[in-house]
């Protein structure tokens, strides 16, 4: 009986063909090696846990917050202050306008006693449950009033209500104002001129 001729299919070889050594092609030996690696890591970490040390590189957030955030990390927002302690924000709403997640709510107040900065925020609130930490508010601010520090807001909670950050919390930043930044002197004759003159700068 004549057998039909079967064309042998030749597998194409590629330039980046993975080359397996004889050792690797015997699957079980590599399995043993892999198991010894993972098992070794398991035993090492378990030994650490059992001797009262931490056997993991991850942090138990939010109970435990990593101390090593990068210097430029965009964490929580802060509001800077003028030398006299008033918020530098002039309630122009630029940050609220540029915010892609629409998380900033500002309510302006009028202060007739300060002609240089008649507007100031009466309410300045950020909803961290929706904030995407893009930093556009910082870039949009014409007054350098809002910044982001590397520490993250410690907000995870059972309720969205607790994820709002108000003016008091945002103003609570040390060193409160950027001391390297030159502030123009207040115009003479203003009611607050005396107060401004008392501030000495380095």
């Amino acid at each position: 009986m004549k057998r039909p001729v079967v064309e042998r299919r030749v597998r194409r070889t590629y330039w980046n063909e993975p080359a397996m050594s004889a050792w690797e092609s015997v699957y079980l030996l590599e399995v043993v090696r892999g198991l010894s690696i993972t098992g070794g890591v398991f035993l090492r970490n378990m030994w650490k846990w059992c001797t009262g040390r931490k056997g993991a590189v991850t942090a138990y957030y939010p109970e435990e917050i990593r101390p090593d955030y990068a210097r430029g990390n965009r964490g929580r927002h802060v509001l800077t202050r003028r030398p006299d302690g008033s918020p530098q924000c002039v309630a122009c709403n630029m940050c609220a306008t540029v915010c892609p997640a629409k998380v900033i709510e500002i309510e302006a107040a009028h202060d007739p006693s300060d002609p240089a900065h008649p507007k100031s925020p009466a309410r300045f609130e950020i909803d961290y449950s929706r904030c995407v930490f893009c930093g556009l508010c910082v870039e949009a601010c014409p007054e350098d009033a809002i910044r982001m520090v590397k520490e993250v807001p410690g907000f995870p909670g059972p309720d969205r209500g607790v994820m709002w950050s108000g003016k008091d919390e945002l103003l609570n930043w040390q060193p409160a104002s950027d001391v390297a930044k030159p502030y123009p002197a207040r115009p003479a004759g203003g009611p607050a001129a005396g107060a401004a003159a008392e501030v000495t700068r380095p």
């Binding site: 399995v31 198991l35 590189v57 991850t58």
Partner: protein
């Protein structure tokens, strides 16, 4: 007669409790072990708050299993619009029940003499008299065959589930499950044949008893010493039977959503998952029984220890029974943990690799092992 009933009712209760406990604990072990292997912390958020207090019991995440169970029970039992009602409802049970039944023939301890155990309570001791029971639910001569009979039923459940839910992914998963489990069933059977040749029996109690002997004067006569290749192959095939990574093709998430139980939700899906975790424990129990000397420590038998140097340490009956129960559970936990280690180490096979691995690699090795064993047994005239 009444005594038998009481003892066996207690056995059934114990076996059910152990299996369900293992099923729950192993979900936690799997999470935690995977986390520790990957330098992570692992699940630790579920807690039980003591009523009327703010004391939250976390207990290193042990309540996650309970939270899972609760979630499964409270979820909507969604059913696809077009499906075979009866097969769809029966499939989870066809997968779940045989897994429990397999444990019925596994001895989880040595001999139990209730009369001696309750010697402090004369009425009970007298009622039991001189009766002796093996710590095993069903003492069957063909115990090992029963294991394979029930193990084979699981395939039917998987295929029923895939076929009845009228979904292409389910169907593909069921086909894969069918071909994979039948291939590996064969390998598993062949590995155990070698043991049957050596021990000359398929009765699991007898197999365990023969393993408490000594080989060459110093080695414990465990199955793993007599048949090291068979032990590795058996564990491999059993893990493939259980459809877990690296053999999880029937339910490959990235390809088939969840394979043959894609269309299942709530506790029906939970049964599939639960069966999988219980099967880890059952496989570990079988491996312990066949290859690791069952419930005995090395050189230990029902009367105590006989160390290789001719030293005999006799133990009282109560101590032996307690020790055997604990040793069995410890071995099962250890082997379960090893299976989880494998599951979190190896990547999934491709489908052709899987079947080639079974038919072109494991199957010839099994046959060679069997032939060598048969010749050796014939030459030595049996090891008895």
């Amino acid at each position: 007669m009444m005594q038998d009933l009481v003892v066996h009712a207690a056995y059934v209760g114990y076996a059910l409790a152990v299996l369900l406990l293992f099923g729950t604990i192993l979900t936690w072990v799997e999470r935690k072990q995977a986390a520790v292997m990957a330098d992570r912390i692992g699940a630790n958020r579920a807690y039980v708050r003591l009523p009327f207090t703010q004391i939250k019991l976390v207990w290193i995440g042990l309540f996650h299993g309970a939270a899972d169970g609760l979630k499964m029970m409270l979820k909507e039992d969604f059913r696809p619009a077009s499906y075979d009602r009866f097969a769809y409802a029966a499939a989870p049970w066809v997968v779940f029940v045989p897994v429990l039944l397999v444990f019925g023939v596994v001895p989880f301890g040595g001999a139990l003499r209730p009369g001696e155990l309750f010697s402090f309570w004369p009425a009970v001791a007298q009622w039991f008299g001189e009766r002796e029971y093996q710590l095993q639910i069903a003492r069957l001569d063909a115990g090992l065959l029963v294991v394979f009979a029930f193990g084979g039923i699981t395939v039917i459940g998987a295929m029923l589930a895939g076929w009845s839910s009228d979904n292409k992914f389910s169907m593909l998963g069921a086909l894969r499950a069918g071909s994979q489990m039948i291939s590996y069933e064969l390998v598993m059977g062949l590995t155990v044949l070698g043991l049957i040749l050596i021990y000359g029996t398929a009765d699991l109690v007898d197999i365990v008893r023969q393993q408490s002997g000594v080989l060459l004067g110093f080695l414990p006569a465990w199955g793993i010493v007599l048949q090291p290749f068979a032990a590795i192959l058996f564990l491999t095939a059993a893990m493939a039977e259980n459809r877990r990574a690296p053999f999880d093709l029937p339910e490959a998430e990235s390809e088939l959503i969840a394979g043959y139980f894609t269309e299942y939700s709530a506790m029906k899906m939970g049964l599939f998952m639960f069966a999988e975790f219980i099967e880890i424990a059952v496989i570990a129990a079988l491996f312990t029984t066949l290859f690791l000397g069952g419930s005995n420590l090395p050189f230990m038998h029902d009367g105590g220890f006989s160390l290789p140097g001719g030293v005999e340490i006799a133990l009282s009956h109560g101590v032996v029974v307690a020790l055997q129960l604990v040793v069995f559970l410890a071995k099962v936990l250890l082997i379960s943990s090893f299976q989880i280690l494998v599951r979190w180490t190896l990547p999934r096979f491709r489908y052709d690799q899987l079947l080639r691995f079974a038919w072109k690699f494991l199957f010839p090795i099994c046959l060679a092992n069997l032939v060598v064993t048969a010749v050796a047994v014939w030459l030595l005239g049996g090891l008895k």
